[in-house]
């Protein structure tokens, strides 16, 4: 397992950095926010990302993918973080596509993979129900109905849910909330009768939705994978996404850190640059150290996803470490970034605030610090 990008991955990282800086700089994100577009990302940009092949990166060639691995994907997400670029790459490809790849039938794969990879259709994962991410707590009921299913319940915090063509709904077909057994995945088209999708406007101005499923009926063929056996593929898809989200957090944090150090060198008070004050120097140096620790954890998380020698527990442990440490560094550095910019730091004019808000959401998404700390412990003790 290597913790540095290979030559090819570095090349992709450079291309992504160059492309996003030109086509999707932070200013573009600010514009999207000001326009108040519920979709939260630009269709044209997404199309270009697709054309560059990014939506095919993680999938095997047999499914129309590039088999380029999560490490390659991580390089893209890091760049997206640096530029604060919004796109459905995580929701539709890494979450949706991975679930179809890992749990879908041949027919489902044949129908969905080409459309997802081509960006013709978009999927979103409807998982969270409670205020905090907790997949096992899923309560939304799935009951047999004729030879299909009846779905009843609510979903929240569905990333890129507004305007999605279909949802993968995680539902409980057996057992009680808190149990890992008894979860099933259902493919629900956005126009299914009884499904209501409404936006949740959140601090990061991205696309989040809440879903109400009021007696939604689906056919037997809407079931993805085994009835009651969703946990394995779901957890694996979540881990891939957690590692990618950690890379996005790392990119955002790196950007905030660089900007802040630059400000320390240029802002003058008491006739000297504020970066000459030791109180600030030491805090900046600590930020630098934590950023390095986070980078190592993120690289390990990404590499773990591509490592066939690791079992699911080994992968889970490193995905949780990556998400936890990237969130931790992002938390420390975003706080310092605001504080060290003084009054400027709390203005909307400065980009720091946009990063702060997105970081806070990305920290909570797919599991916050407490969640991943617990999960890491569980896998250590299992060993």
């Amino acid at each position: 397992m290597s913790l540095v990008y290979s030559e090819e991955q570095r090349l992709l990282a450079d291309t992504a950095a160059e492309f996003l800086l030109a086509r999707s700089p932070v200013a573009a994100q600010r514009r999207l926010r000001d326009e108040g577009k519920a979709e939260g990302f630009g269709d044209a940009l997404w199309k270009e990302m697709v054309d560059m092949g990014w939506s095919a990166i993680p999938f095997p060639e047999a499914l129309g993918g590039l088999a380029f691995g999560c490490m390659g994907l991580g390089a893209v997400f890091e760049s997206m973080g640096r530029n604060l670029s919004a796109s459905p790459l995580l929701s539709s490809i890494v979450l949706g596509g991975t679930l179809i790849e890992l749990a879908g039938s041949e027919a489902q794969q044949a129908e969905w993979m080409p459309q997802l990879i081509a960006g013709d259709k978009r999927m979103a994962l409807a998982l969270d129900e409670k205020p905090r991410h907790d997949p096992a707590a899923t309560a939304l009921r799935a009951e047999r109905h004729g030879n299909g299913w009846l779905l009843q319940g609510d979903k929240r915090f569905v990333a890129d849910g507004v305007g999605a063509d279909a949802f993968i709904v995680v539902a409980r077909s057996a057992g009680a909330p808190g149990e890992r057994d008894g979860l099933s995945l259902f493919l629900v088209p956005a126009d299914a009768p009884g499904l209501q999708v409404s936006p949740m406007q959140m601090i990061d101005s991205r696309n989040h939705a809440q879903l109400r499923l009021d007696g939604v009926r689906v056919d037997a063929c809407a079931l993805i994978g085994e009835e009651g056996g969703a946990w394995g593929p779901l957890d694996a898809a979540l881990d891939r996404s957690r590692a990618c989200l950690a890379a996005e957090l790392l990119g955002m944090t790196q950007n905030l850190f660089d900007t802040t150090v630059e400000y320390l060198k240029t802002r003058v008070q008491f006739d000297v640059p504020i970066g000459s004050f030791q109180a600030l120097q030491h805090r900046a140096a600590w930020c630098y150290a934590h950023l390095h620790l986070a980078r190592s954890a993120v690289m390990a998380g990404l590499a773990a996803m591509d490592d066939p020698k690791l079992d699911a527990a080994g992968r889970a442990r490193l995905a949780s470490l990556a998400k936890w440490k990237a969130g931790d560094a992002a938390h420390r550095i975003s706080r310092e970034a605001v504080q060290m910019h003084g009054g400027m730091g709390v203005t909307d004019e400065l980009d720091v605030g946009l990063f702060l808000k997105r970081i806070r959401v990305a920290q909570a998404e797919l599991g916050d610090a407490d969640f991943h700390c617990d999960r890491y412990g569980e896998f250590v003790e299992a060993q």
Binding site: V4, V272, S276, Q278, W286, A300, L321, W324, Y376, E381
Partner: protein, 401 residues
């Protein structure tokens, strides 16, 4: 390229045949072998590994053969290091001379000094100590006052060094002395090597809070040091000292990659003293969460050491990474041991006797010992200054360097 491939094959075979199984894997603190005139081995395997590596010239594989080294090219040396890492071979000995002074003599020493000092060093026959710090010169090392006065064919040294690790167990010392009291701070310093058996030297161990006495105050009372023991130019010692400290940092980071001595597995201790995750009071649950977070940060550090090694081998610039390693590791160790103290409650507060088992007593001592690590080898604050200025390029403040 076939040359290097052959070398890899030979090296792999030689290490496989000559590195005893017990000399592979992490090295507990108590099992360090210190090279020197009174080298001690705790096992036959330790002796074998020491002697075999010595006879191969691989205590210092990349030094020229004529000075007792292995004569390997940088490329071959990298192969040897990689192969040793692959087999998890421990370093056959710890020797400040080889790691820190040797490279400085190779770069700055005279031919005669190289011939006299390097071969015995390369055979691990001399234990070296470092005489830099003084009672009034710690972080501000350049304010040191121990004097060396020109007396014809020798210097006369007077003054005192402090915090000299293993000053009482070492054969020789390399030391910084003031040779020009009138020059500006950094300009009047020279580097001497001194036989610790010279008349007029006294090393007094200093008791530490951990009860272990690993360092000394060393007094110099009219000690005669032959002029041939001046390394590098007169009054040019500061440059050598900086180079030496750089080698120290490099050795430490390489060492850290091989093995982490003193390693306590936080989570296994926590598992022993705390109830399982789904039981326990809310205080115990909170404590368990603290222990986990600490273990995760430690894991991130281990991965960082691994990443630094990989980046180094890929010839990337790792100076920034290198600058954080000592800071992070020593601060984490301190935090971690404090979490363990909380986990173990009063079981972690024993000093000696049978009321506590030996692993508990060892942990308590490790906690007391951990305080020294954020001071020795450049305090955490000094490390932060270095990162802020040299790595981040922040401007010099008004508070000195």
């Amino acid at each position: 390229m076939s040359g290097i491939d052959d070398f890899r094959k030979e090296t792999r075979a030689w290490l496989g045949a000559n590195c005893p199984a017990s000399m592979r894997g992490p090295m507990p603190d108590g099992e360090l072998v210190w090279g020197g005139s009174e080298v001690e081995f705790k096992s036959e395997d330790q002796r074998l590994w020491f002697e075999r590596m010595r006879d191969k010239g691989w205590f210092c594989p990349d030094w020229p053969k004529e000075y007792g080294g292995g004569g390997l090219s940088p490329e071959q040396n990298a192969v040897l290091e990689a192969e040793m890492r692959r087999l998890k071979c421990r370093p056959p000995q710890i020797n400040l001379g080889i790691w820190m002074l040797g490279p400085v003599i190779l770069e700055f020493g005279s031919e005669a000094q190289k011939r006299a000092l390097l071969p015995p060093m390369a055979r691990g026959e001399i234990r070296w100590c470092q005489g830099f710090s003084e009672p009034n010169a710690g972080s501000d090392l350049a304010s040191l006052k121990t004097s060396a006065v020109d007396a014809g064919d020798h210097f006369v040294v007077n003054g005192t060094k402090i915090w000299t690790s293993y000053g009482d167990k070492s054969d020789w010392m390399y030391m910084l002395v003031r040779t020009d009291p009138d020059a500006s701070k950094q300009q009047g310093i020279s580097l001497l090597v001194v036989d610790m058996k010279s008349p007029g030297i006294e090393a007094r161990p200093i008791d530490l809070i951990s009860g272990k006495s690993s360092f000394c105050q060393v007094f110099f009372d009219n000690v005669k040091v032959p002029k041939r023991q001046l390394v590098g130019p007169l009054n040019g010692g500061w440059t050598l000292a900086k180079a030496l400290l750089q080698h120290e940092r490099r050795a430490m980071s390489k060492f850290g990659e091989f093995s982490l001595p003193n390693h306590v597995d936080l989570l296994s201790v926590a598992a022993r003293y705390l109830p399982p995750a789904d039981a326990g009071t809310s205080a115990e649950v909170a404590l368990r969460a603290r222990a986990l977070a600490m273990a995760m940060d430690e894991h991130a550090y281990t991965l960082t050491a691994q990443r630094m090694g990989e980046e180094m081998r890929a010839r990337q610039d790792v100076s920034g990474l290198m600058a954080i390693m000592k800071l992070v590791h020593s601060e984490q160790e301190k935090d971690k041991l404090e979490v363990l103290l909380d986990v173990m409650g009063h079981r972690a507060l024993g000093w000696e006797g049978d009321a506590f088992d030996s692993s508990e007593l060892a942990l308590t001592r490790a906690w007391l010992g951990s305080f020294a690590q954020t001071i020795a080898g450049g305090s955490s604050e000094v490390q932060l200054n270095v990162i802020a200025k040299r790595v981040l390029g922040l401007p010099e403040g008004k508070q000195g360097k």
